[in-house]
């Protein structure tokens, strides 16, 4: 696969297990296990095909070929390869997902969380749907032809 040259990356081999907080100012390739957090501001993290990470990750780019359980905050991009299994929320500017990759979580595309820890994203905790707002203001339903107040069945042939 895309195993990088050792000299270009710090490398955690597949027999290595790390528990704790990982910080660094160079690119990192993880083919082993990491539990805790990974902070590589301005650099890239690659999770190799054997890599198993249970950590929140901050980096410039994150490439996942193995397993990653945790939130990803990438200033530039996140790349899920076909063998990737990722569970957690993603904040980044660009996401690439290969066919076959498994992802479970939320995706926010935009400016990532600032180093101060304050997110520029709005929360999701709105109690009333904008769709519902529109329905209340208009015909009672966001779907034309459907009243939305009582159970209605509408069949159309297209």
């Amino acid at each position: 696969m895309d195993t990088p040259k050792m000299a270009e990356f710090a490398h955690i081999g597949k027999s290595v297990v790390v528990k704790g907080d990982l910080t660094g100012s160079e690119d990192l390739y993880v083919d082993g296990q990491v539990e805790g957090s990974i902070d590589l501001q301005g650099n890239s993290l690659t999770v190799g095909p054997n890599g198993q990470i249970r950590a929140n990750v901050s980096a410039k780019t994150v490439i996942v070929q193995g397993k990653l359980e945790g939130n990803i905050n990438a200033t530039e991009r996140v790349d899920f390869r076909k063998s990737a299994i990722a569970v957690g929320d993603v904040i980044t500017q660009r996401v690439a997902i290969e066919e076959g990759a498994y992802f479970k979580g939320k995706v926010d595309i935009g400016k990532p969380e600032s180093p101060g820890g304050r997110s520029e994203f709005k929360t999701d905790r709105e109690t009333v749907s904008p769709v519902a707002n529109r329905a209340a203001a208009g015909t009672g339903s966001p779907i034309p032809g459907v009243t939305g107040k009582t159970p209605v069945t509408d069949i159309k042939k297209v």
């Binding site: 995706v107 905790r125 904008p130 707002n133 966001p142 779907i143 159970p151 159309k156």
Partner: protein
């Protein structure tokens, strides 16, 4: 005249795609495009400037992420069909019949706050999901949706047949979906003599065919249902919470 020309071209292409299905350039990888009336209705909401919270229950799709987040909406992705194949979910009911543990499934999946989503993209999930999970999942989805929120689901009709292929759905435009055939999976099983046999199956099979009444029962807690009957043996359903 147009229909004669269409039939004529079908013979030469060997395609069974109807007017709603147009062979995409990447035919070799079993990609098709189709127009979706249900998605067209949803697209009106997606055009909204107000950010919506969308739950996509199909296979992880970069196209859907791009389409929805590009319009300022928040997207949650969760492939329930893959999650339902977790071997540890297998259990037996009171009669000893093998079922999936729906309580455990719902504790591991769809773990969101109540009334969180404006839109749920269910795609063809209900047709392929194990029987024991269908009603509990729909009940959970009802509670996760905001009042007035919308859910899009596709159901096969009887004409589709039991071997109807399972597709991933990727949003291309307002009413255009690209469909990717779910890849065949190699399975190794032991035969009665103990010898291993390798078979290639689709991995997921159509579990049942819902008729209109079944669908109405499935979504009986919702406030309204709108059906779109397409010509490719798919019944699209748009329901409002």
């Amino acid at each position: 005249m147009a229909s004669v020309a269409h039939s004529f071209m079908k013979i030469f292409r060997g395609s069974s795609a109807g007017p709603d299905q147009i062979a995409a350039p990447a035919q070799k990888s079993k990609r098709l495009t189709r127009r979706s009336s249900g998605l067209a209705e949803l697209a009106k909401s997606f055009a909204s400037e107000e950010p919506l919270c969308v739950l996509d229950l199909g296979s992880t799709s970069a196209a859907n992420i791009r389409y929805l987040t590009g319009r300022g909406h928040k997207l949650y992705s969760e492939d329930l069909l893959v999650a339902s194949t977790e071997p540890s979910l297998a259990t037996k009911d009171e009669a000893g019949k093998p079922v999936l543990d729906s309580k455990r499934f719902l504790s591991d999946n769809l773990a969101y706050g109540p009334g969180q989503f404006d839109v749920v993209l269910c795609w063809n999930l209900a047709d392929y999901l194990d029987e024991s999970l269908v009603k509990p999942v729909m009940g959970r989805l009802w509670s996760l949706m905001k009042p007035g929120g919308m859910l899009l689901a596709f159901f096969h009709t009887h004409e589709a047949g039991p071997d109807a292929p399972c597709y991933r759905y990727h949003i291309v435009e307002g009413d255009i979906l690209e469909m990717h055939h779910v890849d065949p999976r190699r399975e190794v099983r032991k035969g009665p003599t103990g010898v291993s046999h390798t078979t290639i199956g689709t991995g997921v099979r159509l579990q049942r065919v819902f008729n209109n009444r079944h669908i109405e029962n499935l979504f009986r807690d919702f406030s309204s249902i709108k059906f779109f009957l397409a010509r490719d043996h798919i019944r699209e359903v748009l329901v409002i919470r």
